[in-house]
Symmetry: C2
Subunit: 245 residues, 2 copies
């Protein structure tokens, strides 16, 4: 978008896959919001909301196993299921009784933690989910920098649910005149969100990942992941750990 | 989409950037439709419609220069403008008086010819544009294979106009029950096309490339590129040349 920039507005670009991230991420001063609605970033928000002190995101099962051996509580998900031998997968409901208050936990997932790893050179990495949509919008606005909304996707492919969240967030940012330089991907995301917002559950009815989670009887997770503004917490990456921002 | 496949239907996946193509292209038996609405694939269709025998797509200016020195008519476009020393850029209007009937010409463009080059290992490479939408849909249906709709994008980024064409084509394919396995990217493209179809010119009003072309006074090209079904020709790649399929 550089060539179109007016010089007075911040760019808002939606990146639909971690594979595309190097194309969009041209300036380390950029803010990156990592989005994995079903379910990694929603689970991280839920962990922080329920008192977890910090979440260490790791990209590989090897790193996760190392932490497990050191006595950490470790979540590991691959292809939507809990990996055998770990404490949990990436269900946001795992944290709801608050039993991990004050603890530092570890998480590796198919898509989300990989996206966080890719974004770590950015000036700020923010964890976005519908559960903290408005809080993330306010936080990002205050930073007043160019923004990339990085959709974790599904195994490097575009997915609908992350795009809807990107559209919801971009639309809020676009209300602020300092975020008026919207990439084509951002415009598309906003249009899709507005088509979906009155019934996101229905809109996602044919989406590949909602179908995948339904087959695994994770409807309760889906409903949690699509609920807006349960929380005002904004988890951010700090020294390799995700903590309350 | 493999894991969701019923086994009786062909997948239709929209790939939003050449960078993502290796993620989607897992099987050489797939058909790839290359899409660069503004303007490379529309220009190629126009060339074939106006009697050009074959278009040789080349990825680099060096190759284009070699052909020029051998006496070919060579088009070269970078960042929407004709490269100095070449015969034309990628305006579809260049061919309208039919003066290149029966000739083999050469073309290199910012995005489109790069996408064609990437797709060349596929079982069939088809050139898609709004000007031959219905003809491409019929042709691809008859091939009865998995399909990737490869959007050339803009410098590896998502763009709206290629997505709209992908949505239009995917929607036609989806009417045929053998093309019922629609990826999330395909569902998104169809929804965007339906939101846009009554006024594509207006819908694209804020798109980055339409603005870019408008600044260069290429409104007439834009109007040509958005007109549906001017032609029943289906250009395809055969032995490194694009010819009537």
């Amino acid at each position: 978008m550089g060539e179109e920039s007016s010089g007075f507005s911040n760019t808002v670009e939606v990146c639909f896959s971690p594979v595309l991230f190097p194309v969009y991420f041209q300036d380390k001063d950029t803010v990156v919001v990592v989005i994995d609605v079903f379910r990694a970033t929603t689970a991280i928000c839920s962990a922080i909301d329920h008192g977890v002190e910090a979440v260490i995101p790791v990209a590989t099962l090897e790193e996760a196993t190392d932490y497990k051996q050191k006595g950490f509580i470790v979540g590991a998900e691959r292809s939507a299921e809990v990996v055998e031998g770990f404490d949990f997968g990436n269900s946001p409901l795992f944290f709801k009784n608050g039993e991990f208050k004050g603890k530092t936990i570890v998480l590796t997932t198919t898509n989300g933690t990989k996206a966080i790893e890719m974004a770590k050179e950015a000036s700020k990495v923010v964890i976005g989910s519908f559960s903290n949509l408005d809080a993330v919008a306010d936080y990002v606005e205050r930073l007043d920098k160019n923004v990339i909304l990085l959709c974790a996707g599904w195994k490097d492919r575009f997915n609908l649910e992350d795009t809807l969240f990107a559209g919801a967030l971009a639309q809020k940012l676009a209300l602020n005149l300092r975020f008026s330089d919207l990439a084509d991907s951002t415009q598309a995301s906003i249009k899709l969100y507005n088509a979906a917002k009155d019934d996101m559950y229905g809109f996602l009815g044919e989406s590949s990942h909602r179908k995948r989670l339904s087959r695994l009887n994770l409807e309760e997770d889906i409903i949690y992941c699509l609920k807006l503004n349960k929380s005002t917490n904004v988890p951010v990456l700090k020294d390799g750990k995700i903590v309350k921002g």
